[in-house]
């Protein structure tokens, strides 16, 4: 049979019908061959996802409800999921979220689903229902959710309506790793404090910055010039400021014994009050309460750069023999330390602000880096119980080094679990 049979002006009847059928079939095959490659895959019929479910987000403060559903075969960057929320199953429905269909997988929530292989087959997200029903004060309220799939003008709603209540929890289980680490280290600290009471002769590694404190104070005494103690910019709620105040107490006591002058500058009124009290007590302990002058512990400015201007002015006018920069510093660190270096003072800095450490190392004679700031009070006092905490810090660091070593090896062999054990969620 020839393909051109339909063009025959007098074809046999039976052949004509057969030829038409074959011709149409051929045309359809040709058209399909041309058209199919240019139809985008995403233009296939939208398939609504299955397994849509709502539940109270576990271990949270009762702020959110989690929604989850199975991955749909029609997902692509052009397809979106729309989530509707209502306070009753009849509505009215509010559009709560519109997300791309290729986003928000369970794999993104490691703290809840870990490394389960099935996580990539499910979407998961949290919704705070009180964002849409702010006036609803009922903490036990039930909220209803619907899911729809959309691509351009196409819209396929899921008939299923799911509901849940957001409840507050008394413990966040995802932070259990942090709790265990904190309790383990606290146990080590307490053990060494008790151990130090029984065996006070603990070996301490040398911290040259703290050994130089006496040298700096002696120099100031001999020169008859004041010692300047500069607090960082953080308030009394910061642990670095507390460490700084502890160091101030030790320095003030020695200055009282040497009969030198100590000037303390502050930028926070609460730190000022605490510093005044600490210096006064130190002079009292040294048996020199008459030498304490409250005018030497002052607040010079509460803002960052006025503080810099005021302290730099004090340094250039009064030319202290020794400057102590102790606490948490920001951009002012270099201006202060460089001004002090220009006046020829011995400078000792101590900070846990790692971004400012290079500036202090560059411009100061001695720098207490990071944890040395916290060790300073114990080191200067040589109190056995305080020294015990230094030993605990060293043990903690040794443990971290061992964990890092084995963690790096295991991660290199693809055992990712180790890298997540210490992660804070």
């Amino acid at each position: 049979m020839r393909l051109g049979v339909s063009l025959n002006p007098n074809p046999p009847q039976a052949d004509k019908g057969e030829a038409n059928l074959l011709g149409r079939l051929f045309l359809i095959i040709v058209l399909m061959g041309i058209i199919q490659p240019i139809i985008p895959l995403g233009a296939a019929e939208l398939v609504p996802p299955e397994g849509f479910r709502a539940y109270d987000t576990p271990w949270d403060g009762g702020e959110s409800i989690s929604l989850t559903w199975r991955v749909s075969p029609s997902e692509s960057p052009e397809v979106n999921y729309i989530i509707y929320i209502a306070s009753s199953p009849q509505g009215p429905w509010i559009e709560a979220m519109k997300i791309r269909s290729d986003a928000f997988y369970k794999t993104g929530a490691l703290e809840r689903f870990g490394f389960r292989k099935k996580s990539k087959d499910f979407h998961e997200l949290q919704i705070d229902p009180r964002r849409y029903f702010a006036s609803d004060k009922n903490r036990q309220a039930i909220y209803y959710f619907k899911l729809a799939t959309a691509r351009g003008e196409e819209f396929v709603p899921t008939e299923q309506v799911v509901s849940a209540t957001a409840k507050g929890n008394w413990f966040n289980i995802y932070k259990i790793n942090n709790l265990i680490i904190m309790m383990a280290f606290s146990g080590v600290v307490i053990f060494f404090i008790i151990h130090a009471r029984r065996n006070p002769n603990l070996f301490l590694r040398k911290i040259s910055g703290l050994d130089a404190v006496d040298e700096a104070l002696g120099r100031a005494t001999e020169m008859g010039r004041p010692v300047l103690f500069v607090h960082g910019l953080t308030s009394m709620g910061s642990i670095s400021t507390m460490a700084a105040v502890n160091i101030l107490s030790r320095i003030a006591r020695r200055i009282a014994e040497y009969d030198a002058i100590l000037k303390v500058v502050n930028n926070d009124p609460i730190v000022l009050s605490v510093s005044q009290e600490v210096v006064k007590e130190a002079y009292l302990e040294a048996g020199r309460p008459d030498a304490y002058n409250p005018d030497y512990v002052v607040m010079v400015a509460s803002e960052q750069f006025p503080y810099v201007a005021a302290v730099s002015g004090i340094m250039t006018r009064e030319r202290p023999a020794a400057n102590f920069f102790i606490g948490y510093f920001f951009a002012e660190s270099l201006i202060l330390a460089e001004t002090g270096a220009a006046t020829g003072a011995i400078q000792i800095a101590g900070t846990d602000a790692y971004t400012q450490l290079p500036f202090f190392i560059t411009t100061c004679d001695y720098t207490l880096m990071g944890e040395e700031l916290y060790a300073a009070s114990a080191y200067l006092s040589r109190e056995p119980m305080l020294l015990g905490t230094l030993r605990a810090q060293d043990v903690g660091k040794a443990a971290i080094i061992v964990i890092l070593f084995f963690g790096t090896i295991l991660s290199s062999f693809g055992i990712q679990f180790v890298s997540q054990v210490f992660r804070a969620f």
Partner: protein, 198 residues
């Protein structure tokens, strides 16, 4: 605070908020102590004609003018909500902010002088520091890539590997130190910050 970190319940959050509010109230009253200290310091300097006492006059001038405009509140009394665009705002925006920016700008010159002192390659450490600084500085500007395509890569490596390792090492030590200090304070082993003895 530690308790609140592990307990997400609304009651726990409400308690933290209450404590934070008290903290703000106490801090508000503490401002008076700070203002008294500042005024007393500068008044004493003026009274004693201490070196540079003239600057102390500007402290009083600045403080009184700002307080006066703050209380005036653009014609409405200070107990009303703060009005925008008043003389108080003008003093802040056109005097305090530029003055602060001026002090901040000095930092660039201090960086240059500190760098000059440090980068004199007299020891092995300062030589290493100098080389690292040159590579990082060149790697951050277009001329670095013009000299060699490896300079920006080397700069990124220095920042991403040795620098990051040192930074994390310091942070780990700081965290341990902060926990140890907190325990010392909680157990009452360290009482210096209270003005008490050991």
């Amino acid at each position: 605070m530690t308790f609140q970190y592990f307990v997400p319940h609304p009651y726990s959050k409400a308690f933290l908020e209450l404590m934070t509010r008290w903290d703000r109230i106490i801090a508000g009253f503490a401002v008076f102590i700070g203002v008294y200290s500042l005024f007393h310091l500068h008044w004493t300097r003026i009274r004693r004609k201490a070196a540079g006492w003239g600057y102390s006059i500007f402290v009083f001038l600045g403080a009184f003018i700002t307080i006066a405009f703050g209380l005036y509140n653009g014609g409405e009394a200070f107990w009303h909500d703060k009005k925008e665009g008043t003389m108080f705002d003008w003093l802040f925006l056109y005097i305090q902010v530029p003055a602060g920016a001026t002090i901040f700008s000095i930092l660039a010159f201090f960086m240059a002088s500190a760098a000059y002192r440090t980068f004199r390659a007299r020891t092995v450490e300062s030589t290493v520091l100098l080389l690292a600084a040159i590579i990082v500085m060149l790697g951050r500007v277009p001329v670095g890539a013009l000299i060699s395509q490896y300079i920006p890569l080397a700069a990124d490596w220095i920042m991403g590997v040795p620098n990051m390792a040192a930074k994390r090492g310091i942070l780990l030590g700081v965290s341990l130190g902060a926990i140890a200090t907190s325990i010392k304070i909680i157990l009452g082993v360290e009482r210096q910050y209270l003005g008490g003895g050991d």
